[in-house]
């Protein structure tokens, strides 16, 4: 019911998950956040979770690992460079091998959009997408929602500015879907070469601008995206002047609502997309996002395993 493949318990993207299920996940996230971090639970005791990361990742991988351990599960972390993938084994063969070992959940990050969707067609093991190419990063959107809700209480009617390289960003795509489902008033902003004119057709409530000042005006939430030059086939904007037009500074904060908050999926590039003054200010929720990441991933692991 919440997956796009035949597997009934995968989390492949936010797009296919109905709002009540997301609310349930957020509720469980809040529940797990209240559990003291040193308390080890038995929710997933005896279960094994494979964390399969085909792209370098520190925070998402660690976050999933901690979440699994706090739920009492056994985790096996596999980084692509340490596997037979570097020996030319195909993705399908690698996954078949892992599946034969019967883990209870596979958490996967991959540089290709749709890689987990492709695999889930052939696997009967629940899969959690920890980021696929330029497509989706569902747990990031969930932890962002949890972070916003803690401060604002609701997503409905909030003015949310998403700023950066929208079209190459899986974080943006998952957030656009989630925020739209909850009735937020979203404005996407970035260099014209990275923001598709079709973006408003993705989901209801999405507006477009190339002017950062317009995007942040009266915003309740400002979501900054990491500039990911490695995901671009060609240089789609001159990076030397990126900060000048799309970097978040204190001046922008003055245009936003007085209680506006700033989110960033990390790791931040100081002076590339966000100034140090903003990153280190009280309005920055960056560390709170990291903390919520563990709680929401506990909720997601529970959700795919015990549904």
């Amino acid at each position: 019911m919440h997956s796009e493949g035949p597997n009934p318990r995968s989390l492949l993207g936010i797009e296919g998950v109905p709002r009540p299920e997301i609310e349930r996940l957020l509720e469980r996230g809040r529940h797990y956040k209240a559990v003291p971090p040193n308390k080890k639970l038995a929710t997933l005791a005896g279960r094994s979770i494979v964390n399969l990361f085909f792209e370098p990742s520190t925070r998402t991988r660690t976050s999933f690992e901690i979440a699994a351990k706090r739920l009492g599960a056994d985790t096996i972390g596999i980084q692509a460079l340490g596997t037979s993938l570097s020996k030319g084994e195909s993705l399908v063969d690698t996954l078949n091998t892992l599946a034969a070992m019967n883990p209870d959940i596979i958490v996967m990050r991959h540089a290709a959009s749709g890689a987990p969707h492709f695999l889930s067609r052939f696997l009967s093991i629940p899969m959690i997408n920890a980021g696929d190419g330029r497509h989706e990063h569902p747990t990031q959107a969930l932890l962002d929602a949890l972070t916003i809700l803690e401060v604002k209480g609701t997503l409905e009617g909030l003015r949310v500015a998403i700023i950066g390289d929208i079209s190459h960003s899986r974080v943006a795509r998952s957030n656009l879907h989630l925020l739209s489902k909850f009735g937020a008033d979203i404005i996407a902003c970035g260099p014209a070469t990275t923001v598709s004119k079709n973006l408003p057709l993705l989901a209801p409530g999405i507006g477009l601008t190339f002017d950062m000042r317009e995007a942040v005006r009266d915003a309740d939430v400002i979501m900054m995206l990491r500039v990911q030059l490695e995901r671009q086939n060609v240089e789609v904007f001159p990076k030397s002047e990126y900060f000048r037009y799309y970097g978040l500074t204190l001046e922008h904060m003055a245009l936003a609502k007085p209680d506006a908050i700033v989110l960033h999926p990390g790791p931040i590039n100081r002076g590339r997309e966000i100034s140090s003054e903003v990153a280190d200010s009280q309005r920055s929720m960056i560390l709170s996002q990291v903390e919520n990441g563990v709680a929401i991933r506990m909720a997601v692991l529970e959700w795919v395993c015990l549904d």
Binding site: A112, A115, H117, R121, S167, N198
Partner: protein
Amino acid sequence: MRMLLKNGHVVDPASGLDAKRDVLLDDERIAAIEPSIESTGAQVYDASGLVVAPGFVDIHVHLREPGIEHAETIESGTRAAAAGGFTAVCCMPNTQPVNDSAQVTSFIVERARRTAAVHVHPIGAISKGSKGERLADVGAMRGEGAVAISDDGLPVMNSGLMRRAMKYAASFGMTVIDHCEDLNLSAGGDIHEGIQSMRLGLGGIPASAEDVMVARDIILAAETGARIHVAHISTASSIAMVRHAKKLGLPVTSEVTPHHFALTDEQIPGYDSNYKMRPPLRTGSDVTAAIEGLVDGTIDCIATDHAPHTGHTKMQEFERCPFGVTGLETSLGLALKALYHTGKVDLVHLVRLFTNSASSCLNLGRGELRIGGPADITVFSTEREWTYDAAATLSKSKNSPFGGTVFRGGPVATIVAGRFAWTAEDGIR
């Protein structure tokens, strides 16, 4: 061997024949087409309820031989062609090695003579190795049987080379077939640039990648007077430009594939690489334009761009999968579905798109029923229901998006040089 097809609905667009007739084949030639022929020593087949048409011609297929025989061979590809109702195919030169010389052309002709189920006409490369640098041995390939030239799949970006190729090929009476794609505009793209590419986070191939090259080619055709054929046209703008070019009397022709008039980008299910091809599936309005183009003659013919790829190459991350789908066996079924049963075209026009109109794009001299002409016949039904089983294909590759599709009407028997090259299970008796 004499063969008599009784009581078929004979459709020959070249002569305008559209009536119940008997057709007598005497070995490799058509002996007679009459309202009633007595069976003097001929094997008799009952074609009542069936359409008897000139042998279908597919001017755009990839047979993968030499060099990529694990995906297809001339034998397997032509067996699939016969099962699709085709009696002749033109094979693209992107083999290994590339068909850019007399030696490769004659190898293909010789292999076809020994192993092919249908007639095979090789298409030579435009440039050596299809590298877009130096002209291939166009005249020598012509001498060995190449019918046209193309750097299909590796389009010529250098307009100067394209202009020279067109002038040079024209002097040998050959058409240049262009896979119109500006590689700078399509770089990094996997599917059509639109809502779906944005939704799936896949690289987009904009319509402009095709349109600018179609515009270029039409301009060059106008300047040189040489014949250009636009392969697998896919965008409304390109179709409009070809329509305009034809109005001006320019020597421009075009083809469309069944998947481009049957499917849109929004119908791509998830990340299924059997829907990944170049040009990519376009939008609903492009599909509408393609059908209009087929109806009004802007698009001369249907060609499959049959592009076999083995299973493991298509079983990868979407962006790593090669472009291309098979199409020989489903082509007629899709045309009946999208064009005939919807009332867009009548039977004569439908047959024309597969026969003489296809043949004339490359001056093949095929696709008509002529007394004394070759006994190449396609017998098909407009009504018989059947389901396409991609796993049971006669091709060596199964990369079709149409597995499981239920069709109304399709090929029943394919006769090449007076003999059955293929018959359906519930075929003809």
